[in-house]
Symmetry: C2
Subunit: 259 residues, 2 copies
């Protein structure tokens, strides 16, 4: 089983879109795929028409059980997404309280690591959609994943934020005793604008070894897919944004085989 | 003096862009304007070429002083922005630790309220740029502001997030004993896409009384302005995005006069 976390402290760069696009493709290609939404704002959960305000059964239960040292089978939290082969452990707003509680509830740091281990015979891939903030939730995802995927909008502010985030992540990884394996994914690429082209060459200069050699183009079909509540690949397999995520997924699987 | 906070738990909807656009216009129109960045990720701070990782003097000092009950003059934290009449209290990454500390440091909730009171003779407007997460920082901004501005992308996921956020904000305001005065601002509007047009009519149906009757259109000049480190109005006063923010600011000032 392979675990990928999708994270960036900058908001609105395409974290949820990347999670649901790769998830939909993996399911379409026949892999048993689990999505876990740990963003208290719950975009991925809303995407599949669940309400993070009203859910009793959510990812929060994993942290609660870990804090109280009670056993809990993660499979009991799984919800269907309407797409064959694609399951979801949704978010709830109570996840937002975890940072404040992390002083009291000991040992929260490995909650997701334990949860994904418990389902390793049930799924081929687990994708974790993260909130745009550095805290106990993001650190959990870092500890649990085999590889970190970092979508970055091809524009100035997002690139500056990337340096900072990588600086923090490397510190966190070092304190956990393992090197951080990450891939930067340029998103919202619009070849007509100078801002996009210039940002891409800055990324190539500064992050060459960890940068995917493709781009996810601007594509309005992503917004339409979310309105329809279907992963982009299932909504419109020929959309240019979906074709770009196919190329990304082929690269990610190629890297796995080379390991 | 007038205090506006700009917030939305959804990431990447144009919070920082709205703060810097309105701030640049207010300064150009001759108002003494202070921007406060309380997003630990520090997009507004990076916008003006400061590094949230390396800053010793930042908004964090306000919370530290409040927690330790030590006096601190907020004017000692002010940095220039390069635009006449526009000042900045920048963010630093240490703001991210406040949620975890809020258990230990008592009375953090009114930090910003006290800070803006202390500068009321020095500025005409204070604008607060918030992080995309519900926590002690956002609650501080709610308590300190006269009005809350909520940028919302005209697309499905962002609209679902808005309902949830308003639900939470109303609860917070109630616990503080005052009604929440807010304005929803449609951003990233692209009249060519059905997703934008449909989302706007959903907003009109569900939030009529608190919805600005204009829209901020999609405009690539915003990304270019951030690359140049200048507020959009100073970068290109005739850009259609700037013209939309002018219409918004005129409405906000009209509402103030009507109060
Ligand atoms: N390549 C793209 N082209 C056009 N629109 C896109 C693209 N990627 C994402 N979007 C749209 O941009 C918006 C933000 O994307 P998304 O919600 O995936 O970002 P995020 O990083 O998960 O945000 P948050 O920080 O709130 O978690 C959504 O409306 C989505 O449909
Ligand atoms: N109306 C618009 N048209 C086109 N681009 C825009 C518009 N508004 C904002 N942008 C661009 O979208 C990106 C995200 O905007 P911004 O950083 O202001 O969002 P935010 O809500 O502050 O994000 P965060 O959640 O990270 O704080 C920036 O690159 C900005 O230049
Ligand atoms: Mg998201
Ligand atoms: Mg911002």
């Amino acid at each position: 089983m392979t675990v990928w976390a999708v994270a960036n402290q900058k908001g609105g760069v395409g974290k949820t879109t990347t999670t649901v696009s790769l998830g939909g493709l993996l399911a379409a290609w026949g892999y048993r795929t689990l999505l876990i939404d740990i963003d208290p704002h719950g975009s991925l959960t809303s995407y599949f028409r669940y309400d993070p305000d009203a859910l009793d059964v959510s990812a929060y239960a994993l942290f609660e059980a870990q804090g109280q040292k009670k056993p809990l089978d993660p499979l009991s939290l799984v919800h269907p997404t309407g797409t064959q082969g694609l399951d979801l452990i949704p978010a709830s707003v109570s996840l937002a309280t975890l940072d404040r509680q992390s002083g009291q509830l000991q040992g929260l740091g490995l909650t997701l690591t334990n949860a994904v281990k418990a389902v390793r015979d049930d799924y081929d891939y687990v994708l974790i959609d993260c909130p745009p903030v550095l805290g106990v939730l993001l650190i959990n995802a870092l500890a649990a994943c085999d590889r970190l995927l970092i979508p970055v909008q091809t524009e100035f502010l997002a690139i500056k934020g990337l340096e900072r985030m990588l600086h923090t992540l490397k510190m966190v990884a070092r304190s956990k005793g393992h090197a951080l394996d990450y891939l930067v994914i340029p998103t919202y690429y619009d070849k007509r604008t100078r801002a996009s082209r210039e940002s891409l060459s800055v990324l190539q200069r500064n992050h060459g070894g960890h940068l995917w050699d493709g781009v996810i183009p601007v594509d309005t079909r992503f917004r339409e897919a979310s309105r329809a509540g279907m992963p982009p690949a299932q909504y419109d397999a020929r959309a240019r944004g979906v074709e770009a995520y196919i190329a990304l997924l082929e690269q990610l699987q190629q890297d796995q085989r080379n390991k």
